[in-house]
Amino acid sequence: MKNKIRHHRYLNNEMTQKHLAERAGVTRQTIIAIEKGAFNPSVKLALKLAQIFDCKIEELFELDLDD
């Protein structure tokens, strides 16, 4: 699954991973893992991230061709 979290952090005043993690209620390592595509978040966490960036979940995550 691809994601645009890095892009959305940039759009949101270069929000740090630490700040995003605090707002989402997870660790910074989890944000790093999601950004790298090493961990797929639950629907709940994905929705929370979309809410933080004030965008639709589809704008944040999209399926890879392999998925």
Partner: protein, 224 residues
């Protein structure tokens, strides 16, 4: 801010190693209390309602526990085989208990998680009833004694079968059957504690959990 799991796990593992190394000098009761506390601490952290672990940390914890479980099973098998090769006789019963009880627990939990309380209870009841029914009939042959011995398992199968329609009565039936089985198999009291634990895990425990699950499904109004 969520706290780091790695640091806490490292401290925890270090604490356990130190406890084992220095524990020999402690009074036995104190050592047991320390070991129980040390083993329960991560469970308490993970299962309390407002856990500070996030979903990725929980995933890592569960995945590593899953792998560790199979490592433990492998190690137990290794010890059993070594014992057999060394002595030429079957390993003592405690090894069978240590090997089989966690596997039974894993089986029961996965059935309940997969099928829900009501269907899980039904499946577990039917599975254990069938296994024990076949065991009694094939080990003792189709004699009068084995037919008498098979009655509890026939009752178990019938109760499991009707649990879909009558979960409340069948749940109570399972619990009554569990209590009855403890009297029916009174001879178990002559076995050593390890064999007893193994037998309890293989017959009354699944029955009791199924009964409890059926009653809980009625209380929670779970769809049948």
């Amino acid at each position: 801010m969520k706290s780091s799991m790695s640091l806490l796990k490292t401290i925890w593992l270090f604490g356990i190693v130190v406890l084992i190394m220095l524990g020999r000098g402690l009074p036995m009761w104190l050592l047991v209390v320390f070991i129980i506390l040390a083993l329960a601490a991560p469970l308490f952290r993970e299962f309390r309602k407002k856990t500070d672990l996030d979903e990725r940390q929980l995933y890592i914890s569960h995945f590593s526990s899953h792998i560790s479980f199979y490592v433990i099973v492998g190690l137990i098998l290794f010890v059993m085989i070594q014992e057999f090769v060394k002595t030429g006789v079957n390993p003592p019963s405690q090894w069978y208990m240590v090997l089989l009880v966690p596997l039974v627990i894993k089986f029961i939990i996965s059935i309940f998680q997969n099928f829900g309380l009501r269907f899980g209870a039904r499946g577990i009841g039917l599975f254990f009833a069938s296994v024990w029914l076949l065991f009694v009939l094939f080990s003792h042959g189709f004699q009068f004694e084995s037919l008498i011995g098979s009655i509890p398992f026939l009752l178990m199968a019938v109760t499991a079968w009707y649990s879909k329609r009558f979960p409340l009565y069948c749940g109570l039936g399972f619990i009554i059957l569990t209590i009855g089985l403890l009297f029916f198999f009174g001879a178990w009291m002559n076995f050593d504690i390890y064999v007893r634990l193994l037998m309890y895990a293989l017959i009354p425990l699944p029955l009791l959990l199924s009964g409890g699950a059926l009653l809980l499904s009625v209380y929670l109004k779970e769809e049948g």
